[in-house]
């Protein structure tokens, strides 16, 4: 083997000389001739026969050459040089192609990077590729994920063998406070002690959690995140050992975690999970499980093992009946469903853009292939095989697409940066939008694939083996429509795909506009909201909570500059709670069949604050909601749905809570104008309002209508009553709305960008095709003008083909866009219907752009000087 390899290497470096073969051949022929002469032939005849015996000399020489190891490398470099020469010889042409491909490949690389980060890339922590999230799930009904109870967690942890670490955390908000520092709300995880070691995280100051912290009666400790340290404590060095209060309970800060460490999910504070009697109840589901699988254990296998355990638990404990377990990677757990669909849609969208780009480039190359046929015919006449010509042309295409791709890579970097910034406020901290090896692999595959895709048809066309025809054909192929059908199909395809893209983008933009236009009567830019949570340990019952809000309301109303103030369980358009309803005289025994309604609890004066008028009846009074004064206000829409055709005033109903306990009978005292409370759905439940006194809510939004920023006064009002209460989620209502439609805004922009780029490319494509066809018909047009064709005749002549292509493209595109619109419209996040007028608007916009692109070259044709056109060569 080695010697063979060395010999090959030697011949690779030192080629055989050409003359060597000739010499050997001459000897062979001489011998052959000598033998034939000896057999009695004369010299001339002997030579002739010897040559016939031997066969093709040149062929034999080539075959000998092809035996040489690596003989094709020379050919390849020759092809490469040829291709580069071809690219540089037509600088503008190549530039246009490279730019088009840069857009197409760049966008695809960008979106693949995003998709990869959201759906495939492991969590960027040590062992992140083996990190899974473990939750229970409801096997009956909705298949919802549920947290684990502590005893369940312990059972899984002790019985399962497929993991290295198995830890659990709660997921809650907590208020941190101390003397001389205003209370502040943070995201707190109470976790089992191994949570840091499972991802090999070490505190940068002090220590992380350790097992002794978990023992009952251990001194309470808290580990703080880097941001908390920097922002709340200004990064002081002596932070470790400081005494603080967390939710009113004393704790000692024992460590600070590194920057950007917020494992598992946006955590600010970590505390040990200290088991207590409450935690040991199997029905108390508070924990989220996280595990590091053993190396080479597949998620599926871990799932199987834990499912076995969960089946045992379900048999053993009644509260675990119908509960299963789900083991999922972070991507599957947190980026599943809607998010996955949107990202895959994005990938499909840019895929279409690339197809349009390739069609564009293919069209440009097709139009040039006509001009190139001469060059190729000469080469083929000189003995190049068709395969060789095709190969060289394909090499040229791939080279072009690689150049375009490299340019696109820069474009992709920019796009990823923009997306990274645009999504920073919302996206989980463990998603990093960066390129990695799979992305580069995808990028390389894309370059080669698109090069072949747009190159194959023009290459086959150019290399058509008819050298004689073309060489003879010195004159112009007047009026001949060579290969016209292929570029027509490409243009139709482009317009169809662009229409589909525009439809998708239109759906996003439309639902964004619909959402932004909700509740026009509410002055969202003047309304400030902030949430307030009353902790259970200090506000133990309804009376205590109602008492607090009773005291707070007058203070809110007296805030300087505030014209109105109220409290509500949710500000306008910020979502609702829902319960089952039963109308008086229409009992429904089966809870599953009772309709559900949405409701907002509020204080008197809420409607004035948000400027929603009451159409009938009255606002709540201070006695509404106290026992025997249960009252409600319904929207006009709810009234019509609950009591169709009747006057709702004075009607009674009751609500059922999760334990199927009915409330007292509640009387309708007023009817308000309609308003949108649930932004993310197409058919909201009937909406009604109840007074806050009806139940003692512990989590309310303060709503203040004031021209100047009332937040400091709101905070002051709250803290004058309770110094330990922070305000969370402070927002102007319009900013909060913006936050809600953030998703639509970003993706609307993304898809609109794709669609516009697609439209631009399609127009450039049709422009190029028409312009080229017109140029080839210059003589013909000149003759027509000379013979008296008027402006309209010429326009019709040139544009007819383009208009035909656009119409077919639009019809095909509509056929494809309808099901897409239907599919997208059924997704809750878009939840808007696309009407016929919308389709019409989009289609006519596209048609207009397309016609304009055809009209440009047609106009030029009408201004031709017939004399010069006829002589045009």
């Amino acid at each position: 083997m080695i010697t063979e390899f060395l010999t090959r290497l030697r011949f690779l470096v030192f080629r055989k000389k050409r003359s060597e073969f000739d010499e050997e051949l001459r000897f062979h022929l001489e011998q052959s001739i000598a033998m034939k002469v000896a057999g009695g032939l004369n010299a001339g005849e002997a030579r002739r026969q010897a040559l016939i015996d031997f066969g093709g000399v040149e062929r034999a020489r080539e075959q000998c050459e092809e035996q040489r190891p690596g003989w094709w490398a020379g050919l390849l470099s020759q092809d490469l040089r040829c291709a580069l020469r071809g690219i540089f010889a037509h600088r503008w042409f190549s530039g246009a192609i490279i730019l088009t491909l840069a857009l197409g490949i760049g966008l695809n690389t960008m979106v693949f990077t995003l998709v990869n980060a959201v759906l495939f890339k492991p969590v960027p922590q040590p062992n992140g590729n083996r990190l899974v999230s473990v939750m229970e799930r409801n096997l009956k009904g909705d298949d919802r994920s549920l947290p684990l109870s502590y005893p369940d967690f312990v059972d899984y942890r002790t019985q399962a063998t497929s993991y290295e670490f198995f830890e659990a955390t709660t997921d809650q908000d907590a208020v941190m406070s101390e003397r001389g520092n205003p209370p502040q709300q943070f995201h707190l995880d109470r976790c089992t002690a191994g949570i840091f070691s499972m991802v090999e995280a070490k505190a940068i100051l002090g220590r992380g959690l350790q097992e002794s912290d978990e023992q009952a009666g251990a001194p309470p400790v808290v580990v703080i995140g880097y941001n908390v340290w920097k922002e709340r404590y200004a990064g002081v060095a002596g932070i470790v050992g400081r005494q603080v209060q967390v939710d009113g309970q004393p704790a000692t800060i024992v460590g600070v975690m590194p920057k950007d460490f917020r494992f598992p999910h946006g955590v600010d504070l970590w505390m040990p999970l200290i088991p207590n009697a409450d935690l040991f109840k199997r029905e108390n589901r508070l924990l989220r499980g996280y595990a590091i699988l053993k190396p080479h254990v597949a998620v599926k296998n871990a799932q199987t093992e834990l499912s076995g355990i969960s089946a045992r638990l379900a048999r053993q404990y009644p509260v675990n009946k119908d509960l299963g377990i789900s083991v999922l990677t972070f991507n599957d757990r947190f980026n599943g469903g809607q998010i996955r669909i949107v990202f895959l849609l994005m990938l499909a969208g840019v895929g279409f853009v690339l197809l349009i780009a390739c069609a564009d480039v293919a069209n440009m190359m097709l139009s040039r292939s006509l001009n190139r046929q001469r060059e190729m015919s000469i080469r083929s006449a000189l003995g190049a095989s068709r395969w060789r010509i095709v190969r060289q042309l394909l090499l040229e295409s791939v080279l072009l697409s690689a150049l375009g791709g490299l340019m696109g890579l820069g474009l992709a970097q920019g796009g990823i940066r923009w997306f990274d910034l645009a999504t920073a406020p919302i996206r989980p901290d463990w998603i990093h939008f960066t390129m990695n090896f799979p992305v580069f692999g995808y990028f390389a595959a894309l370059c080669i694939f698109s090069g072949l895709l747009f190159g194959i048809a023009p290459a086959l066309r150019s290399s058509k083996p008819n050298p004689i025809d073309v060489l003879k054909d010195g004159a112009h192929s007047v009026g001949r429509r060579r290969g016209g059908w292929l570029s027509s199909v490409l243009v139709m395809f482009q317009f169809a795909v662009t229409l589909v893209l525009l439809t998708g983008a239109g759906m996003f933009v439309r639902s964004l506009l619909v959402r932004l236009a909700v509740n026009p009567s509410i002055p969202a830019d003047r309304i400030t909201t902030a949430r307030l949570h009353l902790p259970e340990d200090r506000y133990k019952d309804n009376d205590a909570r109602i008492h607090f809000f009773d005291q707070l309301l007058p203070r809110l109303r007296s805030i300087p500059g505030a014209s109105h103030a109220a409290i509500a369980s949710a500000a306008p358009a910020m979502g609702t709670a829902d319960q089952q309803i039963e109308l008086e005289h229409q009992p429904i025994a089966n809870p599953a069949q009772r309709p559900r309604i949405s409701f907002v609890a509020q204080s008197p004066g809420y409607f004035e604050t948000i400027h929603v008028p009451l159409q009938q009846g009255r606002d709540f009074t201070d006695t509404d909601g106290t026992p025997h004064h249960e009252a409600a206000i319904v929207t006009r829409d709810a009234a019509m749905r609950l009591w169709p055709g009747e006057n709702p005033m004075g009607k009674r109903f009751r609500l059922f809570d999760e334990k199927n306990q009915p409330s007292a009978w509640i009387t309708i005292v007023g009817v308000s104008a309609d308003m949108v409370q649930e932004l993310q759905t197409n058919d909201p439940r009937p909406l009604l309002f109840v007074p806050y006194r009806q139940e003692g809510w512990d989590n309310m939004a303060l709503v203040v209508d004031a021209a100047t920023d009332p937040l400091p006064s709101m905070r002051q009002a709250v803290q004058s009553l309770d110094g330990e209460l922070p305000l969370s989620e402070p927002f102007r209502l319009n900013d909060a709305l913006d936050q809600l439609v953030w998703f639509l805004r970003v993706f609307g922009r993304v898809f609109a960008g794709f669609a516009l780029i697609g439209m631009l490319m399609a127009s450039v494509g049709i422009y190029a095709v028409i312009a080229h066809a017109t140029e080839n018909r210059t003589q013909e047009i000149g003759v027509r003008i000379a013979l008296g064709a008027n402006l309209r005749n010429i326009l019709a002549l040139v544009m007819a083909r383009g208009l035909w292509q656009i119409s077919v493209g639009l019809v095909v595109g509509l056929a494809a866009a309808l099901p897409l619109a239907h599919f997208l419209g059924s997704a809750p996040l878009l939840a808007s219907r696309f009407s016929a007028t919308d389709f019409l608007a989009i289609a006519s916009m596209l048609a207009l752009v397309g016609v304009f692109a055809c009209w440009l070259p047609a106009r030029r044709a009408t201004t031709l000087d017939p004399v010069r056109a006829i002589r045009y060569e």
Binding site: L6, R8, E23, E24, H28, Q31, F54, G56, Q63, C64
Partner: protein
């Protein structure tokens, strides 16, 4: 013309190696020798002889040197290398196995091999 038989794929290499096992030879000589020994059954097409020789040379099984022929013409002589000899042996074994197997399938009596 004696009927010629198309050579099995790869058999040409074996024939050339076997022919060169006795003494170094030039291309013409190899073709003639194979023709003679096979009693004119095996006609080596020149078009395939030289590519085969080049292939074997590139594989390092034979080595070419310039020498002078019987009639004092400059000619290229091919000589079996030690690797080539080894290769020849293994190819002969393969051939024996193969032909014995084919003979069995065809129902012919098998001669004691070699």
């Amino acid at each position: 013309m004696p009927t010629s038989t198309d050579l099995l794929q790869g058999t040409l290499d074996l024939l050339i190696l076997q022919t060169l096992a006795h003494e170094p030879m030039h291309g013409w000589g190899i073709a003639q020798r194979i023709q003679q020994v096979s009693r004119e059954v095996l006609q080596i097409g020149q078009g395939s002889l030289y590519p085969a020789l080049y292939r074997l040379e590139y594989k390092g099984w034979i080595k070419a040197e310039w020498g002078s022929s019987e009639n004092n013409r400059k000619a290229k002589f091919y000589r079996l290398t030690p690797t080539g000899a080894k290769q020849l042996q293994s190819e002969v074994e393969t051939w024996d196995r193969l032909s014995a197997a084919i003979a069995l399938v065809l129902g012919r009596p098998v001669e004691a091999s070699r």
